[in-house]
Structure formats: C-alpha cells, structure tokens
Amino acid sequence: MRSRSLLWGGVLAGLLALVSAAAPWLAQNDPDEQLDPAAASYRPPGTRLEAVRLADGTWRLADRIERTPDGLRIERLGRTEVLPAGRVLNLTPDGVADHRFYLLGSDKFGRDLWARMLWGGRISLAAGLLAAVLSLVLGVAIGSAAALGGRRIDTVLMRIVDAFLSLPYIPLLVTLSALFRPDTVALVFILAASAWMTISRLVRAELLSLKEREFILAAHAIGLGPFAVFWRHLLPNAFTPVLIQSMLLVGQLILAESGLSFLGMGVQPPTATWGNLAAEGRESISWAWWLATFPGAAISIAVIAFNLLGDGLRDALDPRTR
C-alpha cells in the first residue's frame, strides 16, 4: 500500500503533466473556435460533424452530408439543404475535406470541451503549483523567523498565523478578488496568501525541535555562522515534512482555484480553467451533463494525484507514521 500510493500518485501526476505539455497536439480543435454555434452547441461526447466551408468564408457543421453529382446535400439542425458545388470550398469526390470531432462533447457555443479542458488544465495545474511554491517560500520564511528570531517575534508571528487560520477563506478570497480583479498572476498570489500558514507552523515546530539537537549545537561550536547553520543543517533536516505538506497543499490549492473560478472570481472567461468550465456547465446540468462532469472529474483526478504523492512520500520518508 505504501509504495503503491507513491507509485500511483507519481503515475497520475506524470500523466497530467504529459497531457498538459502535449495539449497543442492532443487537441485537434482550437479551444475557442466557434465555427457554427447554432448547429454545434450542446453536442454529446463522441459527436462527429462534417465541416462544410462555404464560398463566403463561413462554415456549416452538418450531421450528415451526401455528395450529389452537382454539389452537396447537407443535414443540419434537422433540415436538409442542397448546396451547389460552386458554393462549397472544401469539396472532395466523396464529401468534404474537414470535420470536427467532439470527444467530450461541445458547449453552448459549439466549442470543443476536450480542447478547452486540455488548455484549461494547463492553467489550473500551473496556478495550483505556483501558488504552492509561493506558499512554501512564504511559509518557510515566516516559520523560520518565528523559530529562530527570538521570543517576541515568535509570539507576534504565531498570532498572525492563528488569525489567518481563522479567516473563512472563500468569502475573503472572493472579497479580495472582487476588489483586485485579478489576472492569473494576482490570483496565484491571493491563493498563496490563503495557504502558507500550515507550512509556517510546520517549519517552526521542526526548527524548534532541531535547534537544540547535538549536531546543531556542534555546528555552532565549530564556528559556523548562523546563516550557514540554517542553510546547511537546519533547513535540509526540516525539509521532509515540509515537502510532504506542500504536495498536499498543491491539491488543496487546485481545489481552491476551482472554487474561486466556480464563483466567477478566478480566471475570467473566455480563458478556460477546469473551475470555470465546471461553472459554465452548471446551468446546463439537466440537458448537457458532460459540461460539468468532465472538468470536475479532471479536478478530482489532479487532486487525487497530489494527495497520493503526499501520502506516499509521508509513508516512504517519515518513519514515525509506520
């Protein structure tokens, strides 16, 4: 079970990274493309539509087409239309040269959900990861200052940590994002501001117990400066639990980002993220189930991956839990 958590977490996270990196090749369609919204909206997963390019530059997406000797007969929106060969630009001997395939269905505007999820996943994952890194830096800095900076600094910093832990972060994040109207970068900062506290508590506790240990006292005794002791001896020894906690944090931050985007306070449409895709799918849950279901599933797979990684690392690296 132990190594299995780590293995599965690693496999899932690796897959997510791979899929996100390969998004331009995996997505056949452009995530923002709206060729023929009227005909392509709310198509269930696995729909294939024939893409007919007309002479005036517009597109028609047809359920079925039939090549006739002098042109094309298309079935679109329940109606049959006959197009002379001269009006169709991408005509071939047996039909048209283009089609659109909606692996996971299409949204209100006929955009491809699969493509939108691939591109949106990049933003969701990056926001979660970056916010976690930022929380890690902030948490280590504040936790170290509290542990090593003397009693007064410790008291003040820890009370601030308590206060941040008491803030109900969804209303707070929402208030902040309403005031800042954040772009993705600002969103990462806002997310990190809601998450650094657990790291700083952990760092402080680890450093407090480490700094009285013999090897640290010895390092001081042989004349190493405080900074060298901190950088070469204290921090590396406190790092394992911090690393584990940061993995769990990535998952939580992906969840937080999705919650904010779900409320319309995260990354703004038309840029897709898993959270705002699920939010857009909410209104159509009764007739287009795929729109909320797949992005939500993607979020949970990502969170599962990082939770497994955290758990697996804990089991592998931290002997106390055995």
């Binding site: 803030l167 109900p168 209303p171 707070l172 005031l179 009764s286 189930w289 949970s300």
Partner: protein
C-alpha cells in the same frame, strides 16, 4: 478552570481583533476604494464623492480604522450598498438556513466518518480497510461544488427523486405544519449529503487513526483480558477515548465547513449566508462581503473557543497546563 476560561476568553478576543484588523487592512490595501466597484453604473463624480463622504472613506486611514472598530464593538457592521439595510439584520436573516444546513451536514459527515472509520480500524489492513482508504481519498479530493452537481445530476435528473434547489416548494405555504417540515427535509437531503461527504474524508481518516492508536493501549489489553466481549471493548473502552480528540478536529473543521457551505448553498440555491455572499459579489456590495467574512471569522473563533473549553472539561491535563 475559571482561570483557564478567562485566559481563553481574552486570547479569543485578541484573536478576533487581529482578524478584524487584517480584514480591514487587506481590503484597504486593494487599489481603489469601495466606490470603485460601483464604476460602470450610472454614477456621477459628485455622487461618488458624496458616497465617499457618507461612508467616511475620505478620512485618513487610521481614523477610518478606529471608527470601524468602534462600530464593530457596538455590533454595527454598517449598511449594505445594495439593500440599504443594516448588514447585521441581513446576516441574521440568512444565518438560520446556513445553520440548519451545516448541522445536517455535520450529522452526515460524522455518521459516515464514524461508521467507516470504526469498520476500517477494526479490520486494519484488511480488504475493507483498503477500500475505505480509497473512499476517504476520493471524498477528500472532490471539489465541493462537484459533489453537489453530481448529486443533482443523479438524484434530481437521471432519477428524479429529490428537489435540486431551494428550501421549500412553491406551495409550501399551503401545506400543513407537518407537510412543510417534510418538504423542508426533502429539500435538505441533497445539500446536506453533498456538504457532509465533502467534509467526511479527513474526519474518517482521523477516526480510523485515533481508534487504531487507542486499541493498542495497555488498558484495552486489560479489558480484553478481563474477558469482555470485543464489541464492548471497541465501543465502550476504545471509542470513548478515541473520540475525545475528535472535539478538537470538529472545531478545526469549522472553516472548511463554512467554505463548503458557501459553494453548496450556491449550487442548491439554499437561501443562507453562501447565497448571500454570491448576491453580494454580483451586486458588488462590498460592505456586505466584508461583513460576511467577519461573521465567518467570528464563528470560527467561537468554534475554537468552545472546542477548547470542551476539551478542557473532558481532559484535565489541558486546563492545568
């Protein structure tokens, strides 16, 4: 105990003061001021200046802060931009619905967590334990809104069993009192299950871990050696001691309960604080948003205080420390 109570009361009060201060300065660090969010509405610069004066926003920051704290001390959260009513009144109207939802969700959460946690701990490392670990991982990895959406999809659309939104049916006013209570209960089921399941994952792990730890203690071996039935050993001797720390966890889960409630209420159109905060966002009602955030913080701090006091009542080591 009295000394402990006093100390905890004072530190809770200071904490709340600090929280309020952080909220005040975070909000005022934001570029612009509350009237900025009114941009885009038909509002002339003179009207805006008038509003700034009316809400005291043209005064120095320090003075605003002191006035704001003074009003807060009198329980005055200010006036809502959009509704033009005292924010305390608005919150007081919305809170009972949130309280009802949260209570029902806690019942679901602890029902699931205790049932599965005990089952897993009793069959440690068995198939059931592994399955339950997977369930707990799945539960704690879901976005809260997604559980709600999936429940709506399954139990309101695919299999139309329960209402998907609001607190009452349209004709609730015509029903008998009993009918109305049943109607409310039917509306409560899906949101309560969604919110409860969302929170159940960590609690379930905690129950399992705590019970496993307690079951390894010497007094459990003694109880077994006395010839007590295994059921009695687990339920009376084990569980009682395993659950004491759960009180602490309960208080620590308060913020996540509130956060989850916001999203759950929005999905199920449940007329509580969460829905209120959405309305506040949509109407850019900034004082109301701050008021709700502060009220949430108050609930969290109170929850922590109550948990600490309960803990002290249950465990003498805490209060004498």
């Amino acid at each position: 105990m009295a000394g402990y109570l006093l100390r905890r009361l004072i530190s809770s009060f200071l904490l709340l003061l600090l929280v309020a201060t952080i909220i005040f300065f975070l909000v005022h660090l934001a570029p612009g001021d509350p009237t900025t969010v009114l941009e885009g509405r038909r509002i002339t610069p003179e009207q805006r200046e008038h509003l700034r004066h009316l809400y005291g926003l043209d005064r120095p920051l320090g003075e605003q802060y002191v006035r704001w704290l003074g009003a807060l001390a009198r329980g005055d959260l200010g006036i809502s931009f959009a509704q033009q009513r005292p924010i305390t009144t608005i919150i007081a109207e919305a809170f009972p619905a949130t309280f009802l939802l949260a209570t029902a969700a806690i019942l679901v959460e602890y029902g699931v967590a205790l049932l599965l946690g005990i089952a897993a701990a009793r069959r440690r490392d068995g198939t059931a334990d592994h399955l339950i670990r997977v369930v707990s991982l799945l539960l704690s990895s879901q976005p809260s809104f997604w559980i709600g959406l999936m429940l709506i999809l399954l139990f309101a659309h695919v299999w139309p069993l329960l209402p998907a939104s609001h607190m009452h049916s349209i004709d609730a006013d015509l029903m008998s009192p009993l009918g109305r209570a049943l109607d409310l209960a039917r509306h409560l089921i899906l949101p309560a299950v969604a919110l409860g399941l969302y929170n159940a994952g960590p609690t379930l792990r905690f129950v399992r871990g705590s019970l496993i730890e307690v079951m390894g203690m010497d007094y459990i071996r003694t109880a077994r050696a006395k010839g007590l039935s295994e059921r009695r050993v687990v339920w009376v001797h084990g569980l009682r001691n395993a659950l004491t720390p759960l009180v602490q966890l309960f208080a620590l889960s308060f913020p996540s309960l509130l956060n989850g409630a916001v999203l759950t209420e929005i999905i199920f159109s449940w007329p509580g604080l969460g829905r209120l905060s959405l309305a506040a966002i949509l109407s850019r009602d900034y004082p109301l948003m701050v008021g709700i955030t502060l009220f949430g913080a108050l609930l969290v701090v109170l929850g922590n205080l109550v948990a600490d006091l309960l803990q002290a009542a249950l465990d003498p080591r805490v209060r004498d420390a």
